[in-house]
Symmetry: C2
Subunit: 165 residues, 2 copies
């Protein structure tokens, strides 16, 4: 079975898949609240209006998978973006593939720092949240509304990969 | 100067002002991701569409005020809700007043646990983010768009309060 080596998550490397949500010097920064707060402004688009959808704010509580992690199923959301912001101070894994026909040969894995969130663009193939170390909470911003907004692909034995990190 | 005693933040006590964002058993809970994730579903409304507004996702990096904290300015957003989810594992203070004409005699203070976010309903008077213990980050969900979306009130000497917590 092929092994995917998880790379450090950066906005540049993740750009084909969506946004990294982080307090980066690359963001527009605005000093507010009488100087007591630095606002890192507008870090991601919330793309949820297709088909009459609206934003949904949730907490996902995710249990780490047993190691070694084997990627068996991927999914995408055809009608909206989906963002994960970690709340539990732990790193986590992100496994993605470009939007379009599923291609198991071009998946990428990233390891996200505890301060980094990700926003999967509409259509981006991704694995469900891969907490590490302990049960971890994520604030999740996604779409609610009519329509089937989850497409899954079960990987064949040839397509399955393990993640090294 | 009057002292406001900060109460523990609960959804019930905060209901006149907005929502508490937390993984509570009172939420709709959905088991997903092959059993590995518990989704606490739709924890708050994102009320940002007034005047052609849209959602804005930001990180606020807030420096604690010097103690004792004196409340000198309050604000509200007439065109949209504003939510704060703590990211730095520290408690923080929330000072609020009911929407409408400012009344300094009915302010309330809450101490939020590190796992609790708040969503100020449109029009709710509130103080800006009051981090405790260290510089703290918050994921902030608010409105962007045309129109003046911040009204401030500078408290008179008689109206100013200190917070005990």
């Amino acid at each position: 079975m092929r092994t995917l080596v998880a790379k450090p998550l950066t906005a540049e490397a993740f750009a084909p898949y969506g946004d990294v949500i982080e307090a980066s010097s690359a963001a527009e920064m605005i000093r507010i609240n009488q100087g007591n707060t630095l606002r890192f402004h507008n870090l991601m688009p919330l793309d949820v209006a297709d088909g009459g959808g609206s934003a949904c704010v949730n907490i996902f509580r995710s249990t780490p998978l047993a190691l070694p992690i084997v990627i068996k199923t991927m999914e995408y959301h055809p009608l909206g973006s989906q963002a994960f912001m970690p709340l539990s101070g732990e790193p986590y894994l992100v496994v993605v593939g470009k939007a379009g026909q599923f291609d198991g040969t071009v998946l990428e894995a990233f390891i996200a720092a505890p301060e980094q969130g990700v926003n999967y663009a509409k259509g981006t193939w991704h694995h469900f949240s891969l907490a590490l170390n302990k049960v971890s909470d994520f604030l999740v911003l996604d779409r609610q509304g009519d329509g089937d907004n989850c497409v899954e692909h079960d990987l064949s034995a040839d397509e399955q990969v393990t993640i090294s990190f």
